[in-house]
């Protein structure tokens, strides 16, 4: 069990903002690495917290067609799918501050709206070549303000806690999807 009762209740409140269905596609393998197992369990538990969420688990070794479909090269990998694939990928366990990013992204994908400013959208529409962004983070990254932070990785389970962080509205998610 990755999420505690109190955490589940808080997450339910955040996921209540979801508007349309989102599918979480998780990739692991038969002999799961530490964080593969944690990530899969986390996604399965998360999916149970909202009727708008579903989860699909694939094997990185056996499900070659799915690997090609989502263009993945490493696990644990988690893909968020709305009415289409927005290109959002989480590699490694989204724990600590990144768990807040995951929740935010779930709500964002469910709204089918990145929440980006009009000016940003205009600039992005002008792009003529594909844009690939990789944001490297660690579970304890304190430089990114988040609305809430969850410490759920087993590495930190001994000191599990959560707190609410204020976040200026200009700090939206890092995931930019080209139009």
């Amino acid at each position: 069990m990755q999420l505690q009762e109190r955490e589940r209740n808080e997450i339910k409140k955040i996921l209540a903002a979801m508007q349309q269905p989102v599918k979480i596609v998780n990739f692991t393998q038969k002999f799961e690495c530490d964080s593969c197992q944690e990530t899969r369990e986390l996604m399965e538990e998360l999916a149970a917290l909202s009727d708008k969420l579903s989860v699909e688990v694939h094997d990185f070794v056996e499900d070659k067609d799915q690997i090609t479909k989502y263009n993945l090269d490493k696990i644990p990998a988690t893909v968020l799918i709305g009415d289409r694939d927005y290109g959002i990928r989480f590699y490694g366990i989204p724990s600590g501050y990144e768990f807040a990013t995951l929740l935010e992204d779930l709500v964002m994908v469910s709204k089918r709206d990145s929440g980006l400013a009009d000016d940003s959208r205009k600039k992005l529409t002008a792009l003529t070549t594909p844009l690939h962004l990789q944001v490297f983070t660690t579970p304890l990254d304190r430089t990114v303000p988040k609305p809430c932070a969850w410490r759920i990785s087993s590495r930190w389970r001994a000191t599990r806690w959560w707190r609410i962080w204020w976040k200026p509205p200009s700090f939206r998610s890092f995931h930019i999807v080209t139009a």
């Binding site: 490694g92 366990i93 940003s120 579970p139 939206r172």
Partner: protein, 53 residues
């Protein structure tokens, strides 16, 4: 999102020293968290730079 400690080879390849580090089209480009408009400008600059080389 890439969890830097879980993929040390990738972190090494891009020279991740502090997080968040944003890699734009395979080249390290933006360090730290920036407001959206500022962040996007850095990304666009990195794209231009990448296309020029």
């Amino acid at each position: 999102m890439v969890e830097a400690t879980e993929f040390p080879q990738l972190s090494h390849r891009y020279g991740v020293r502090s997080v968040p580090l944003t890699v734009v089209n395979d080249k390290p480009a933006v360090t730290g968290a920036l407001p959206e408009a500022h962040f996007l400008d850095h990304i666009l600059m990195a794209i231009e730079k990448g296309e020029a080389t």
